[in-house]
C-alpha cells in the first residue's frame, strides 16, 4: 500500500497544527506554568485572573490553568487510549467476521449486539460501580462501550469491499486470506474507520468528563475536565469562569479532533480532491439572449463552446469546442463518439442541464417549443426551464433505474410528470398514463401502472421511461445511450419501438440519439454526427457516412467493430483495425488536428493547421480532415 505521494497536504496543515498545539500544551504543562494543580490555597479561593494565575483559581484556590492543562492530559490520554483500543478490537472483529463469514460472523456480530443492548451510561455506571472508579477502569469501560460501533462499520465496509473485483482477483491469484484482509481490505476501509475514530474520540472525551462529573471517573483530587466542571457547578453564579474554562477546553479539543480526522479521510482517498467543489453558481437569468432558430429545425446549437472552470488559478478547459449541430424537424440525428468526446455534454446543454462548473463560453442554443417559439434552456431561469423540460423537450437515459424513483410506483411518477405540465384530474391523468404505457408496448398496462420500478425488468423500465418522456407529447426527444445497458434482444425491441413511435407521433418528433454503437445508429438515424475530442469531425446522411466515411476517425471506428467484420477471426490471424493510443484529455489536446497522433494518414501539415469542417459540394456532408475528399476543393476555394 502506498499513500499518494504528497509532501504534506495543505489541507492537513491547519488541523495538524491545532492538534499538535493542543496536545503539546497539555503535555508541556510544567513548562507553561509553574503552578501545582493540587496546591490548595483556601485564602485565594475563587480569585479572578492574575499574572500568576491567568485563568484564576478554583473553589480550593488551586491554579485553574494548571488544572486545565494537567486535567487535559488525563482526559486526552483516557479518550485516545480507549478509542484506540476500541478501534483495534472493533475493526479486527468486524474484518474477520465479514471476510470469513460463517461462525466468525456469528460470534463477532452477536458479541457486538450484546454490548449494544445495554444503554451505554448504564453499562458504564455498572462497570465503574463494580470495579471502582479510576483511570484504568475508565479506559476499559470506554473501550467496551465503543468497540461495537467499530465492528459494525468495519463489518459492513468489509462486506462491501470484499465483493469488489479486486478482492476477487486477489483470491483468484491464491493470495493468502491474511494478506488479503490486512493489505487489501483493511486499507480500503480505513477511511470510514477514521471518521468513526474521530467521532468516538470526541464522544469518549465527553463521556469521560461526564463520568468524572458524576464522581465515577478520575478520583479527586487528581484534575480532569469533568472534575473541574463538577467543582465549578456549585459556584457558577459567582464564578462563571470556572465553568467556562474546562468547557472551552472540551469544545476546542473535540473540534480539532473532528477537523483533523475529516481532512485525513480526504487525504487518504487516493483520488484526492481534484474535482473540487462546484466553483460557478448556476446562471439564473443573465439577460436571456433571444434564441433564434432557422426554419425547419427543431433544435440548434451554433458555435457552442462549453468550458469547465477549474477554480481561480487554472485556465478553464474547453470540453466542447465550437459545435454547430442542427436537429432537422422530424428527423433522427445521431451523435456518435467515444466516452469523453463531449457528446453527452452537448445533449445536456440542449436540455439546460449542464453541471454547474461547466458553462457555455460562446455560442447559441435554441430549441423549438410546441408553440413554435425558440428557447435557450441554459440561460433560462430555473423555473421557466422546468416548464419547458418534459413538456417541449424530453430526455431518456442509459440506466432507467437511476432515473426512476425507487420508492414511488411507476404510475404515481408518471402522473406527477403529467400534472406538472398539464392541469388534469387524477382520473384523466391515470387514463392518459395507462394509455401511454400501452403505447410503448407494455403488456397489462393497468397492472404495471401500480408496479414499483424494481418489479420491472430493465427493458420494461426503459419502456416506462420512454412512455414518461413522451407523456406531454414533446417535439424533441433526446435519447442518451438508451439501450447500452440492455441485452441485445431487448435492445433491438427498444430501437424498433423508438422507430415506430417516431413514425406514429402525429405532431412529429425530432430526435437526438446519442450512441457509441454505429450499428444501432445505422438502424435508427437519418443523419449522423461524429464527435472526437469535443469537436464534430464528420457529419452527413447516416447511410452515406457509414458506408463511405470521409474522416479517418469514422473509418477507424467502423474498422474496429467486430460486428461489422464477419469475415475476420482471431484464430486465422486476423486482427481488428484498432485505433492506437487513447483519446486526448481536453486539457492536453494536440495542436492542429486533435486526432493526428492516432491517425494512420497523418502528415506534417496536420500538426500545423487545425482543419475546418469542410462542406462537401452537395452540402449534405462535411468532414474535419485536410485529406477528406472535399477538403481539397474547400482549400482551393479558400485560396482563390
Amino acid at each position: 500500500m502506498r499513500f499518494p505521494r504528497v509532501s504534506f497536504p495543505r489541507r492537513m496543515i491547519l488541523p495538524s497544527l491545532l492538534l499538535v498545539l493542543l496536545i503539546g500544551s497539555m503535555f508541556a504543562a510544567p513548562l507553561l506554568t509553574s503552578a501545582d494543580p493540587l496546591q490548595i490555597a483556601i485564602s485565594k479561593r475563587l480569585a479572578g485572573p492574575s499574572w500568576a494565575h491567568p485563568f484564576g483559581q478554583d473553589e480550593f484556590g488551586r491554579d485553574r490553568l494548571a488544572r486545565v492543562l494537567y486535567g487535559g492530559q488525563v482526559s486526552l490520554s483516557v479518550a485516545f487510549l480507549a478509542s484506540f483500543i476500541a478501534t483495534a478490537i472493533g475493526t479486527f472483529i468486524g474484518l474477520v467476521g465479514a471476510y470469513f463469514r460463517g461462525p466468525f460472523e456469528f460470534v463477532a456480530m452477536r458479541v457486538s449486539d450484546v454490548v449494544l443492548f445495554f444503554p451505554p451510561i448504564l453499562l458504564a455506571l455498572l462497570v465503574v460501580t463494580i470495579f471502582g472508579p479510576g483511570v484504568y477502569t475508565m479506559i476499559a469501560v470506554l473501550a467496551l462501550l465503543y468497540f461495537p460501533s467499530f465492528s459494525r462499520i468495519a463489518y459492513s465496509e468489509t462486506l462491501r469491499v470484499s465483493s469488489l473485483d479486486f478482492v476477487e482477483a486477489s483470491r483468484a491469484l491464491g493470495t493468502k486470506p491474511r494478506r488479503i484482509v490486512f493489505s487489501t481490505v483493511l486499507p480500503n476501509i480505513l477511511g470510514a474507520i477514521s471518521v468513526q475514530f474521530s467521532l468516538t474520540a470526541a464522544a469518549t472525551i465527553t463521556v469521560e468528563s461526564g463520568l468524572s462529573f458524576l464522581g465515577l471517573g478520575v478520583v479527586p483530587p487528581a484534575p480532569s475536565w469533568g472534575q473541574m466542571i463538577r467543582g465549578a457547578r456549585a459556584m457558577m453564579e459567582q464564578d462563571p469562569l470556572g465553568l467556562f474554562v474546562p468547557c472551552a477546553a472540551l469544545c476546542v479539543t473535540i473540534y480539532s479532533i473532528n477537523l483533523f480526522c475529516d481532512r485525513l479521510r480526504d487525504v487518504l482517498d487516493p483520488k484526492g480532491l481534484e474535482d473540487g467543489k462546484d466553483s460557478v453558481s448556476p446562471t439564473g437569468k443573465n439577460g436571456a439572449a433571444p434564441a433564434e432558430l432557422a426554419d425547419g429545425n427543431a433544435a440548434e446549437l451554433r458555435g457552442l463552446t462549453l468550458s469547465l472552470s477549474r477554480g481561480k488559478k487554472a485556465e478553464p478547459v474547453d470540453l466542447v469546442r465550437d459545435i454547430t449541430l442542427t436537429l432537422p424537424r422530424n428527423q433522427c440525428t445521431a451523435l456518435v463518439g467515444e466516452s469523453g468526446s463531449g457528446k453527452s455534454l452537448t445533449s445536456l446543454a440542449l436540455m439546460g442541464l449542464l453541471p454547474s462548473a461547466i458553462r457555455p463560453s460562446s455560442g447559441h442554443i435554441a430549441i423549438e417549443r410546441k408553440s413554435g417559439a425558440p428557447v435557450d434552456l441554459v440561460s433560462l431561469a430555473a423555473k421557466e426551464a422546468e416548464k419547458v423540460r418534459g413538456n417541449d423537450i424530453a430526455m431518456i437515459f442509459q440506466e432507467p433505474m437511476t432515473s426512476l424513483n425507487p420508492v414511488l410506483k411507476v404510475g404515481a411518477q408518471m402522473v406527477e410528470t403529467l400534472q406538472a405540465h398539464r392541469k388534469t384530474t387524477s382520473d384523466e391523468a391515470r387514463k392518459t398514463c395507462v394509455a401511454a404505457l400501452d403505447r410503448v408496448g407494455i403488456p397489462e398496462a393497468e397492472r404495471r401502472f401500480e408496479s414499483y420500478p424494481h418489479e420491472l425488468s430493465g427493458g420494461m423500465r426503459q419502456r416506462v421511461m420512454i412512455a414518461m418522456a413522451l407523456l406531454c407529447e414533446p417535439k424533441v426527444l433526446i435519447a442518451d445511450e438508451p439501450t447500452t445497458a440492455l441485452d441485445v434482444t431487448i435492445q433491438a425491441e427498444i430501437i424498433d419501438l423508438l422507430r415506430d413511435l417516431r413514425a406514429n407521433q402525429e405532431a412529429g418528433l425530432s430526435m437526438l440519439f446519442i450512441s457509441h454503437n454505429l450499428g444501432i445508429v445505422a438502424d435508427i438515424a437519418d443523419r449522423v454526427v461524429v464527435m472526437y475530442s469535443g469537436e464534430i469531425v464528420e457529419e452527413g446522411p447516416a447511410g452515406d457516412v457509414l458506408s463511405d466515411p470521409h474522416h479517418p476517425y469514422t473509418k477507424a471506428l467502423l474498422e474496429s467493430m467486430p460486428s461489422l467484420h464477419d469475415e475476420k477471426h482471431s484464430a486465422r490471424g486476423d486482427r481488428l483495425g484498432a485505433i492506437a493510443g487513447t483519446p486526448p484529455l481536453p486539457q492536453a489536446r494536440l495542436s492542429g488536428c486533435a486526432f493526428r497522433d492516432r491517425c494512420p494518414i497523418a502528415r506534417d501539415a496536420c500538426a500545423e493547421t487545425h482543419p475546418d469542417l469542410y462542406l462537401a459540394a452537395d452540402a449534405t456532408r462535411a468532414a474535419r480532415c485536410l485529406f477528406a475528399p472535399d477538403a481539397a476543393n474547400a482549400l482551393k476555394e479558400a485560396v482563390s
Partner: protein, 325 residues
C-alpha cells in the same frame, strides 16, 4: 483429441434467496447441469443475456464460488478434492479478468504492487529478477514500464483493463476466464484489447473462457461458442457456424438482434421477457419466448443433440429457419 484442460460435468449452482413469508428461504437455480470442456490453447466463448448465469459459471469453474453439484476438473484433477494448499498452487494456472476496469484494481495499490502481489503469492521472479519481469509484463500488454509506480486512477479504462490482463498473465497461467473483459470499453479500445488477447493466445497458447453478451465479439475471439439461457446450454459449436448458421432459435434471435450496418432479412423477434430464474418454464426454458414453440416443448427438458460437426443444440425441432439465409 488430447486431454481437455478444463472439464466441467453436470455443474449445478443456485443462490439462496429470502422467499415469501418471514422465515422461509428458497434457492434460485442459476446453472443447471452444465457440461463443457476446454482444450489446451482453445478459446471457448460463452454468450448469454443477463441472468443467464454466464458470470456465475466463470466464477464457479475457478472455484471462486462454490457449486451445488457436479465436478470441475482442471488438468485432470477434481478441484473439490484439493486441499487448501493444493488449490492455492492450482490457482497459479487459472486466472480471471474482470469486466469493470474501475472496480477490478485496488485504488490504493500502485501497478507495481498489484503485479507484485501476483508474483509474491506464487514466489515467482523473486529478488533481482522481479523488476525485469514487471517491465516485461507491462510491455506485453502495451503499457510503458514507467507507469509501474502509478495508481489506478491515473489510467484510462482501456489502460486499466491492460493492467488487469497483466495481473492475470503475470503468473503464467494456462487458463484465463475473461468475464465481460471488453464490455465496458469504448469500441476503439475494445478492439485494442481483443487484439491483445488474440496475440497473447497465439504467443503463449493460453486457454480462455471468454464470457460476453456480445455475440460478434465472442465470434471474433473464440474457437467454439456456447450459448447459455436461464442456466442451461442452448447450443454449442464452432464460432463461425454458430454465428452464421445458428441451429437453435434462441441463437438465431441473438444473431438477428445484433445491430449491423445493413438491415438483416428475416429478423427473429422474441416476445416477452426473460422469465424469472426462480420460476423457470417447464420443459425447454426458452419456449415462452420462442416463436417456434410447440406443445411438446413444455413436456420435457430438451437434451443437447448433435446437429453437425462438433455442434450440439438443445432444440427438439429440425425445421427452424436460422435467419442466416
Amino acid at each position: 483429441m488430447s486431454r481437455p484442460l478444463l472439464e466441467v460435468v453436470g455443474l449445478t449452482k443456485s443462490y439462496p434467496i429470502s422467499g415469501k413469508g418471514f422465515f422461509r428461504t428458497g434457492r434460485i437455480p442459476v446453472l443447471r447441469g452444465i457440461d463443457l470442456t476446454i482444450a489446451p490453447g482453445e478459446v471457448l466463448g460463452l454468450v448469454g443475456e443477463s441472468g443467464s448465469g454466464k458470470s456465475t459459471l466463470g466464477k464457479t469453474v475457478l472455484k471462486l464460488a462454490e457449486l451445488d453439484a457436479g465436478t470441475v476438473r482442471f488438468d485432470g484433477r477434481d478441484l473439490a478434492s484439493l486441499s487448501k494448499e493444493q488449490l492455492r498452487a492450482v490457482r497459479k494456472d487459472m486466472q480471471i479478468i474482470f469486466q469493470d476496469p474501475y472496480a477490478s484494481l485496488d485504488p490504493r495499490k500502485t501497478i507495481r504492487a498489484v503485479l507484485s502481489e501476483a508474483l509474491d503469492t506464487h514466489k515467482l521472479h523473486m529478488g533481482e529478477r522481479r523488476e525485469p519481469r514487471l517491465k516485461e509484463l507491462m510491455e506485453m500488454v502495451g503499457l510503458s514500464p514507467e507507469f509501474l509506480g502509478r495508481l489506478p486512477h491515473e489510467f484510462s479504462g482501456g489502460q486499466r483493463q491492460r493492467v488487469g490482463i497483466a495481473r492475470a498473465i503475470a503468473v503464467e497461467p494456462r487458463f484465463i476466464v475473461a468475464d465481460e473483459a471488453v464490455s465496458a470499453l469504448d469500441v476503439s479500445i475494445q478492439a485494442q484489447v481483443l487484439n491483445l488477447l488474440a496475440d497473447l493466445r497465439q504467443k503463449t497458447g493460453i486457454s480462455l473462457l471468454f464470457i460476453s453478451h456480445d455475440l460478434s465479439v465472442v465470434r471474433f475471439i473464440s474457437d467454439r461458442v456456447m450459448v447459455l439461457y436461464l442456466g442451461r446450454v442452448m447450443e454449442i459449436g464452432p464460432a463461425d457456424d454458430i454465428h452464421f448458421n445458428p441451429a437453435h432459435p434462441y441463437t438465431a434471435a441473438l444473431v438477428s438482434a445484433e445491430p449491423g450496418l445493413t438491415p438483416k432479412p428475416g429478423r427473429v423477434r422474441l416476445s416477452g421477457e426473460i422469465p424469472s430464474p426462480a420460476n423457470p418454464p417447464s420443459g425447454c426454458v426458452f419456449r415462452t419466448r420462442c416463436p417456434y414453440a410447440m406443445d411438446a416443448c413444455a413436456a420435457e427438458v430438451p437434451k443437447l443433440r448433435r446437429v453437425g460437426e462438433a455442434r450440439f443444440s438443445a432444440c427438439i425441432r429440425d425445421d427452424i429457419p436460422n435467419g442466416a439465409e
